[in-house]
């Protein structure tokens, strides 16, 4: 990094002393945001250029690029310094957030240059989530626009309390004070309810540098600081962290039987050996024995430090749990209210199962109630059934297992979460927790009728009757058993109805006549239907030789819930395997009405899945079935969206 005036090297300076001084500078993380073409990238280019952080080779490249892609005529285009993606340079827009680093005599800065286009709002949110301050740009010719408001609301939701309103391109309105005043008043009026602790307005021209790092000679009427002066002097909230101790456990470090340490980053407060802690979710108490680091044990560790804690007692703590102060505990709940920003092109649907991820914990979760959507233009609360990309809402969230959390207002680290799509694994939303909900207070669940849909939603799955049909010895039970295990492991609620087993109980009064076989299937189909109604995925493994009975079972169930799998193994192969010795006995005439020998098997004409078992392992076939099921669930989701229910 090249020197600027502040970094200028004296002839006989001491590098270590100079570095020590650098290291203890404070750090301000901020973002630039606002509407398209308000000049965000140009502003950052100007800051880097004026603080002399542009190297000669970068300047030469910039001059080349300006001639090729520039939008500033003969002048160098400072925006090209930060728009690093090819598509960005070609289109002259910013798509994704860029992080830039610079330092002055007083401070170090990390600036996130975020895109203005509405479709890239999620990238703006990414930049805002780690910022302490937002510079909101406004084009002096345009005034406050929808994106100005949207970005301000998102900055507010993400906990940013200090705003600089940079009224840019002031040169294009002849440095007119009246226009500037009008825009400032507009913004202040709009932002009054956003909870900002300070709003600093600065008139500037990023292109020509007025009031960015040097005072403008064109605006005698402006007495306030330049942008850089303000950024260098704005107070940081660095008071000693007096909040109760929070330690989200990230990783259990257990290299041998003698050492069991809990690794993580302290999210609030401080800790010393001997301090009492409790496990947030279980309430089990212990004391801190050691604070371990490679550089030696520490006498104290504070918020922001990544350490490893060893406790006095062997108590159960795993990743996702939290060690906390006994006298100031976080909430532990499976229902809470949160502000949610939606990122995905596929809208949020209440009731659908997503993965909720906090800093170290995760759980399947659903939005049980969309309480209201926030209109980004006027902050109005509007009723909504779904939440589209870039929209913001207050929602109730229900997680499958309880999580430990604080409100976002108390702690950005322990009060936030992201939402992940179960199928695509995309990050589709981000949430800021407002408060826990006691079940009694959750009107939505009370009002909900407990029907098949509700029971299924509670299990986060789509019920199904997976009906395996095929000859005796074809492999139905083996495959069904393996599939059962696999689904169970992935958190699905299942039950297997097996032909032989059912005949020992429910159907022990039935024989093998054609009439009894039909009744056998009817009863099993009815039981499967009840189980599917209860929300289960039922695996039925029955020879079920007749089409009509399988059709009967199909008709009992809602459309799409009956999945017929034809386990297709040739008779010769089944007879060769003959796992129960039945073919031999049938051939010897000891068993009558044996399917395939002296009773017909009517192969399915259009099964959902046709498994030709020859040459395939049961595991391969189970994988194929699971894939099919996953695709069914995905397709179903898309169908739901299209239906606009």
């Amino acid at each position: 990094m090249r020197q600027n005036t502040a970094l200028a090297v004296e002839p006989d300076y001491d590098v270590r002393a100079w570095l020590a001084e650098q290291e203890h500078k404070s750090l301000l993380r901020f973002l630039t945001c606002g509407s398209v073409d308000d000049g965000k990238s140009t502003l950052i280019g100007r800051l880097l250029y004026d603080t002399k952080l542009i190297f000669e080779d970068q300047l030469a490249a910039l001059e080349r690029d300006s001639r090729k892609h520039g939008t500033t005529g003969e002048d160098i285009d400072l925006a090209l310094l930060v728009d690093g993606l090819e598509a960005e340079r070609e289109q002259g827009i910013t798509i994704d957030v860029a992080y830039r680093f610079f330092a002055t005599a007083k401070r170090k800065f990390i600036v996130a240059d975020t895109p203005g286009h509405e479709q890239y709002t999620r990238n703006m949110a990414t930049g805002a989530s780690t910022a302490d301050l937002a510079v909101v740009l406004v084009d002096a010719r345009q005034g406050v626009l929808t994106q100005t408001r949207r970005h301000s609301i998102i900055a507010s939701l993400l906990g940013i309390r200090r705003i600089v309103v940079a009224i840019n391109k002031i040169d294009l309105i002849d440095y007119d004070q009246a226009t500037y005043q009008r825009i400032v008043e507009d913004y202040q009026k709009f932002a009054a309810d956003l909870g900002f602790s300070s709003i600093e307005a600065i008139p500037m021209s990023a292109r020509y540098g007025d009031n960015v790092t040097r005072r403008s000679e064109n605006m005698g009427w402006y007495q306030g600081p330049t942008l850089l002066e303000y950024l260098e002097s704005v107070p940081l909230d660095e008071a000693a962290d007096a909040r109760p101790f929070r330690f989200p456990v990230q990783y259990v470090n257990r290299p041998n039987l003698d050492f069991r340490g809990f690794a993580g980053t302290i999210a609030a407060g401080s800790i010393s050996p001997g301090d009492a802690v409790v496990v947030a979710k279980s309430g089990r108490a212990s004391k801190v024995k050691r604070i371990v680091t490679q550089d030696g044990d520490l006498p104290v560790a504070v918020a922001g430090q990544a350490v490893t804690l060893v406790l006095e007692d062997e108590i159960e703590v795993s990743r996702g749990n939290m060690l906390v102060a006994p006298n100031g505990r976080p909430h532990v709940a499976d229902q809470f209210a949160a502000q949610l920003v939606w990122f995905d092109e596929q809208a949020l649907r209440p009731g659908r199962s997503y993965i909720l991820r906090t800093e170290t914990d995760q759980s399947p979760a659903t939005v049980t109630d969309l309480r209201y959507r926030i209109n980004v233009n006027n902050f109005a609360q509007e009723a909504a059934k779904s939440l589209a990309m870039n929209e913001v809402a207050l929602v109730n969230v229900s997680t499958q297992t309880p999580i430990a959390f604080d409100s976002f207002a108390e702690n950005r680290a322990t009060g936030s979460f992201i939402i992940i799509d179960r199928i695509s694994n995309a990050t589709v939303g981000a949430g800021m927790i407002v408060n826990p909900l006691r079940r009694a207070a959750n009107i939505h669940w009370q009002a909900l009728e407990v029907d098949a849909k509700a029971r299924a939603a509670q299990k986060h799955q789509k019920p199904a009757v997976i009906w395996f049909t095929g000859l005796s010895g074809s492999g139905k039970s083996t495959i069904a058993g393996l599939l059962d295990k696999k689904l169970h492991l992935s958190g699905r609620h299942t039950y297997v109805l097996d032909g032989d087993n059912v005949r020992h109980g429910l159907n022990r009064d039935l024989g093998f006549t054609e009439q009894d076989r039909v009744e056998n299937i009817r009863r099993v189909a009815e039981v499967a239907k009840l189980m599917a109604d209860a929300g289960l995925i039922v695996l039925v493994s029955f020879i079920s030789p007749f089409r009509a009975e399988r059709q009967l079972a199909r008709d009992l169930l809602p459309k799409g819930d009956f999945i017929e799998i034809f386990v297709d193994t040739p008779l010769e192969e089944c007879a060769r395997r003959d796992p129960k010795g039945l073919y031999a006995r049938a051939a010897a005439g000891e068993i009558k009405n044996f399917t395939g020998i002296d009773s017909p098997y009517e192969a399915p004409e259009a099964p959902e899945i046709h498994l030709e078992t020859a040459g395939k392992s049961p595991e391969e076939m189970v994988d194929a079935i699971e894939k099919w099921l996953t695709e069914r669930d995905t397709a179903e989701q898309e169908y739901d969206d299209g239906g606009g229910i």
């Binding site: 080779d57 992080y99 990414t126 989530s129 990783y251 993580g264 680091t293 922001g304 991820r357 694994n425």
Partner: protein, 301 residues
């Protein structure tokens, strides 16, 4: 009143947090160890993150067969001293085809021996997360990259559809075949790296310090003749010049600078008056505009 964490303390804590997050959530992580100063810092941080245990993942070096000899010696010494599991991968197809930076140019050489080689190694071992030492201040397209940077099953980066990355809450979920590149040093600047090396006494390859070395001036760069494979062009002479390297890679592609900085302090003060950015000494960025982004989309680190 408790002491405020310094700037470096914060960067260190962030990197350690990232290391642990990967170890806790991925099945088969690996650290890409390129032997340079950023790798030295990464190694140091990985040791800290899991102390008293060793890092629970192997270190992979993609050897193009054109690295400086001193880098290879340093690499093997580090593996011995720290006791980490070192994997070395060479693209044998490239070796068989005789791919080299002199005859095939930096583009082809880097693509075959580095990008393709890396993809081979990742596929062969089935790693689902790979740490790299890239920093956002190095280059414009790096400045845009997430800390947890998603790669599809073809190892490609799609800069237009990066996952939002909120707070320190990382989305670590991938489907089979997909992977994440993880950059714990994203928020470090070059100055931070040097400052940290100085503070922590981290060993680095001696090539970073000035010494008399045999160099040839070629295409405006000072190339060190590290072995006999480098043929001299007409009119070229090998000079023994006092030089050092600001960045390390394949020796035919890495320019030296004239310098008498023999200590870390001298390197830092030299850097404070430097007039060119760090990657300028690397031939690969100059081939075409946006070339780093292009390489990254193809799976380069």
């Amino acid at each position: 009143m408790l002491a405020r964490l310094s700037h470096l303390d914060r960067l260190e804590a962030e990197a350690i947090h990232i290391f642990r997050e990967v170890a806790a959530t991925f099945t088969k992580p690996v650290m890409l160890y390129s032997v340079g100063k950023d790798s030295s810092v990464l190694l140091h941080l990985a040791m800290k993150a899991f102390y008293p245990a060793k890092p629970p993942f192997p270190f992979l070096h993609v050897d193009t067969t054109w690295k400086f000899h001193e880098m290879i010696e340093f690499r093997d010494r580090m593996a011995r001293e720290h006791g980490f599991d070192l994997l070395v991968h060479i693209n044998e197809d490239g070796v068989r085809d005789g791919i080299n930076p002199f005859d095939h140019g930096s583009n082809t050489h880097t693509h075959v021996m580095k990008t393709v080689a890396l993809r081979q190694a990742l596929d062969e071992y089935g790693f689902d997360a790979a740490f790299g030492g890239a920093r956002r201040d190095e280059e414009k397209s790096r400045a845009k990259e997430r800390i947890f940077s998603f790669r599809n099953a073809q190892h490609a980066w799609d800069p237009k559809h990066q996952r939002p990355e909120m707070w320190k809450t990382f989305n670590t979920r991938v489907s089979p075949g997909e992977s994440i590149r993880v950059f714990p040093l994203s928020n470090w600047t070059e100055l931070d790296i040097w400052q940290y090396i100085l503070r922590e006494n981290i060993p680095i390859v001696p090539l970073y310090f000035a010494a008399r070395r045999p160099v040839v001036e070629r295409d405006g760069m000072l190339i060190m003749r590290d072995d006999e494979r480098m043929k001299l062009h007409e009119g070229e002479v090998v000079e023994n010049r006092l030089v050092r390297f600001r960045t390390l890679g394949c020796y035919p592609l890495t320019g030296a600078i004239d310098s008498d900085a023999e200590t870390l302090e001298e390197i830092v003060s030299e850097m404070l008056v430097a007039r060119t950015s760090e990657r300028q000494g690397r031939l690969i960025d100059k081939d075409e505009a946006g070339s780093m982004e292009k390489k990254k989309r193809e799976g380069y680190f």
